[in-house]
């Protein structure tokens, strides 16, 4: 991958590290700092003069479901909003928008994260996978297929978040027990009440995984 070097050469592009040096913390994204904060500057080479970024939009290229997607967003825009509002990738849903409900779960470099709690520019250079990556033409990944087969969804608005979290849990441990999968889903909330059917899906998936050993 050539992305890191290219991004750092780009006028408005910043690595996550540069970004942190500049703004100090995710909460201070809009702050225009002329110099790096002292505490962080200690580890920085002396000559680097940190660039202020924002509040104007910056060019951003994200690797979403194996496709490079480019847009312009303000630095304060979350990964969730960049995906949904700027890139029309809407499998991740906005529900609580503050890291409680899990409807916005996506995989970032294979780890399930709440995309509402990550800035879009923090995700640059990482591999982002949303629920849409789990269907290829008509071929459905085993996890969403089990949700469909066992009717583990009603309105379906929370479902892609659950599906991604469960896919990530099986990727991490293909021999996970149902209890371990349930634990991995404990950061997701469903309102229609599909947990009983989700358990049926989990039982079937765990059994199939064991057979596949």
């Amino acid at each position: 991958m050539n992305d890191t070097r290219e991004r750092n050469h780009h006028k408005a592009g910043l690595s996550r590290r540069d970004f942190l040096r500049t703004s100090g913390a995710a909460a201070a994204t809009a702050a225009a700092l002329a110099e790096a904060p002292p505490a962080l500057a200690e580890e920085a080479p002396a000559k680097i003069v940190a660039k202020a970024i924002g509040p104007e939009p910056i060019k951003l290229t994200l690797d979403v479901n194996d496709a490079a997607m480019t847009t312009h967003v303000e630095p304060r825009v979350t990964l969730l909003d960049a995906l949904r509002n700027y890139l029309d990738v809407t499998g991740c849903k906005r529900v609580c928008d503050r890291g409680t409900c899990g409807a916005c779960t996506v995989m970032v470099d294979g780890k399930p994260i709440y995309s509402c709690t990550m800035l879009a520019l923090e995700a640059e250079g990482k591999k982002i996978k949303t629920a849409e990556s789990l269907i290829d033409g008509g071929k459905l990944d085993a996890v969403p297929a089990a949700f469909a087969k066992h009717d583990a969804q009603q309105c379906g608005f929370c479902t892609p978040g659950f599906v991604v979290a469960m896919r990530a849990a099986f990727d991490k441990n293909p021999n996970a027990t149902p209890a371990e999968i349930e634990e991995a889903l404990s950061g997701n909330i469903c309102r229609c009440g599909t947990y009983q059917q989700m358990r049926d899906a989990i039982a079937a998936l765990c059994k199939n995984q064991r057979k596949g050993d």
């Binding site: 809407t90 529900v95 459905l140 969403p144 469909a148 309105c155 608005f157 599906v163 059917q197």
Partner: protein, 744 residues
């Protein structure tokens, strides 16, 4: 022509997978929230931070100059009074959401803050007139509703024992995961298209047409407004019509001449997107020594926010049981959002105000509460049985008795029930039960479905009705496929778009009893039209033709043609037939037992209560539910289990908490407004008590009603102390134990 369900059923009654399952699970289904139109603006609402205030000044001049702002629409003006925190004041649309949020912060507004009351007990005691005038007067407390049956006084006087208690349930919020809102776009022809998160596709289109044609004298008949709802992320009774945010989004779109998306943020969804009203009351029952209740008395109150609605179903108190009664209900207006219908409106409140005290009574009598319930069940109405043998009135005793038997066997009640609080140890087991009822009949409004067959054998079923996640889409396909001898996947669906024909809103569990018969009629008429058109080409008489799985058959000639082959005889013709249904149709003698009304339902809950921490864990719920003819047992079971889970959330987690000082809700979020996760869930055993002879009845609402009462009674059985109010939090469990004198 008479309508009836086919006697031999290949698909109806079988577990058929949801057709939109893969699209939803893989994030491909586009909800209203997911619609992104070219050049679309994002809108944000400014809401009142005060529970009661007057707008002193309102100036959006600076906001209009903010980057990206394209339209501003003032809902309120200086001098207007605001009656709840969250009330809508102004909306604006900008090129992106970030700009819209910045701009709304630049609106200059000054308030004259006025006194408010947000707690029922405060508003009940005081009358400082914090709410708008009603009948010329500003009153928090509305005149009480009161009624009594003729035999009440004698019943209470004759009682061998009496029991009293106070019980209640708080206001809870719908908490739809897809928030309320829509995308509005005006077309070059002057028409309006909206992608709305709604339970009423046609109703939303009609309401928008009326609003705009009335306000601006536009030529905007309902057929020039198109409402699209392909997928809907939860409504539970809170999403009928465009709402204020829908009208405002369309106003902004009109002003800016660009599509506008306005979806509520989470805090707004909770504080303004709907809530179930509270109900608290004193209840007293009298009974004979054998457990037969002789009289029931309730004096209850609740708040529906600024509105003066009843918060119980007054005429259904007592609930389910036909006791002699005296009832009183006081409606309290508070400075909070107006209630909205929530999954079986007011029935959970009625259930709590009836079912809790029955277990307290059973304990006083030393009885098994299941036996006490069996003694007090309503009787079958023998007169009704003559004219309507499949009506709930005719079958009440039969249905409840049978459902209790089934639930008792599935839960092993006889082995598990013990006298309340009479088990050793710190963590105590308890088991409890409750009953419920609901209607679920077709609507008076017309519901239509159209089935189209073309010469290549393809079949389309078209309807405007919405699938809220109930599985209605799949039901439409499977009924069409049943009649035409096909598979559900072979039916192309055109769903959830207002131009597709008449339909009613999905409320009251009315969708399947309204839509399924319309589909049955459309598919049957299409089949008959197909036979009429192709019979000459098959050298058959139309009446000799019939459908078998995948083919058209002439039995008298012993000949058959594959479906495709048969349809190809249509040549350049096509078949198109529309069926409709209403409650009126269902009541015609020739259409009996196609759809009907009235269900029972029994739930038995088990809990483990930690008497040191007060933590309640629900371990199992058995839900026995009838709903007439079960069309798709897979999605029907999902509805029942989902209702149980929502009821469990009411029991253990959900409560809107209002702050007395600021008048705002302190938990308009998902971390402090709690909903259970998968690890909080009990084992749920659903038993569908199939009664196909009754026809189709809706089931969306009934399973939610009695769960919290069953859990409350299970806690009482575990610890021998009544926790009077939901949610049954550790704090409340410990308080109940302390009041009883500890874990004895």
């Amino acid at each position: 022509m008479a309508t009836s369900w086919p006697k031999k059923r290949r698909l109806i009654g079988s577990k058929i997978q949801r057709l939109d399952g893969p699209a939803k699970a893989a994030g491909k289904a586009k909800y209203s929230y997911d619609i992104n139109r070219k050049g679309m603006l994002h809108a944000v609402l400014l809401r009142s931070p005060h529970a009661h205030a007057k707008i002193k000044s309102l100036d959006s001049g600076d906001a209009e100059k903010m980057p990206g702002v394209k339209a501003v629409y003032a809902i309120k003006k200086a001098g207007d009074e605001l009656f709840w925190a969250g009330e809508e004041i102004l909306a604006l649309a900008a090129d992106n959401e970030e700009h819209a949020l910045d701009a709304v912060r630049a609106v200059k507004i000054e308030y004259i803050v006025l006194p408010h009351l947000v707690k029922e007990e405060d508003a009940l005691k005081n009358d400082p007139q914090t709410v708008s005038a009603m009948g010329g007067k500003r009153n928090n407390v509305q005149p009480a509703m009161e009624a009594a049956s003729g035999g009440f006084e004698k019943g209470m006087a004759d009682a061998a024992v009496t029991v009293e208690g106070s019980y209640g349930v708080p206001t809870v919020c719908h908490q739809c995961l897809e928030s309320h809102g829509l995308v509005a776009e005006w077309g070059a022809d002057g028409g309006l298209t909206v992608w709305a998160s709604t339970q009423a596709v046609t109703g939303t289109a009609v309401a928008l047409a009326q609003y705009f044609s009335g306000k601006y004298k536009l030529d905007l008949p309902a057929n020039k407004v198109k409402c699209i709802t392909h997928y809907m992320g939860g409504g539970f009774g809170s999403k009928f019509g465009p709402d204020i945010q829908g009208l405002v989004a369309a106003e902004l779109a009109r002003q800016a001449q660009a599509p506008v998306k306005l979806m509520l943020d989470r805090a707004s969804e909770i504080t303004a997107g709907g809530c179930r009203p509270s109900a608290y009351g004193k209840v007293r029952v009298g009974a004979a020594k054998d457990g037969k209740v002789t009289a029931y008395e309730v004096d209850c109150y609740g708040t529906a926010g600024t509105q003066a609605s009843a918060t119980v179903t007054f005429n259904a108190l007592p609930y389910v049981y036909p006791f002699e009664y005296k009832r009183k209900h006081t409606r309290i207006r508070t400075n909070a959002q107006v209630q909205r219908a929530m999954r079986a409106p007011n029935h959970p409140q009625n259930c709590a105000l009836t079912e809790f005290i029955l277990d307290d009574l059973a304990a006083k009598l030393g009885m098994d509460p299941m036996q006490l319930r069996l003694k007090n069940l309503p009787q079958n109405d023998l007169e009704k049985a003559k004219t309507a043998p499949h009506s709930l009135d005719a079958l009440k005793n039969t249905i409840y008795t049978r459902e209790i038997e089934i639930a008792a066997a599935l839960s092993k009640w006889k082995d598990k029930w013990h006298p309340p609080g009479k088990t050793a140890g710190v963590v105590k087991h308890g088991i409890g039960m409750a009953l419920h009822t609901w209607g679920g009949q077709a609507t008076p409004q017309r519901n239509e479905c159209t089935v189209i067959i073309t010469a290549d054998g393809s079949v389309t079923a078209r309807t405007s009705t919405q699938d809220l996640g109930t599985g209605q889409r799949t039901v439409t396909a499977l009924i069409t496929a049943e009649i035409l001898g096909l598979e559900p996947e072979q039916i192309a669906l055109q769903f959830g778009e207002s131009p597709n024909g008449a339909s009613s809103g999905s409320g009251g569990s009315t969708t399947i009893p309204s839509q399924a018969p319309a589909t049955l009629r459309a598919a049957t008429a299409a089949r008959d039209e197909l036979f009429a058109k192709i019979a000459p080409k098959l050298e058959s008489k139309a009446e000799d033709l019939s459908i078998e799985h995948g083919k058209v058959v002439n039995r008298s000639k012993g000949k058959s043609w594959s479906w495709k082959d048969a349809c190809s005889r249509l040549g350049d013709e096509q078949v198109k037939a529309t069926g409709f249904w209403t409650i009126g149709e269902s009541l015609k003698p020739e259409n009996k037992d196609v759809s009907s009304s009235g269900v029972g339902g029994v739930q038995i809950a088990e809990v483990m209560v930690d008497t040191e921490t007060g933590v309640v864990r629900c371990t199992q719920i058995v839900a026995v539910q009838d709903c007439g003819l079960v069309v798709n047992p897979l999605t029907c079971e999902s509805q029942v289990a989902g209702g149980v889970i929502m009821g469990l959330n009411y029991a253990l987690f959900e409560e809107r908490i209002m702050d007395r000082v600021t008048g705002r809700q302190v938990n308009p979020d998902m971390e402090f407004y709690k909903l259970g996760g998968i690890e909080d869930m009990p084992k749920i055993i659903v038993h569908l008590h199939d009664m196909p002879e009754r026809g189709v009845i809706g089931v969306g609402e009934p399973p939610v009603i009695s769960t919290h009462a069953a859990i409350g009674n299970a806690i009482f059985n575990a610890i021998g102390a009544r926790v009077p109010h939901t949610p049954f939090t550790p704090e409340r469990v410990l308080a109940a134990l302390a009041a009883k004198g500890g874990n004895k």
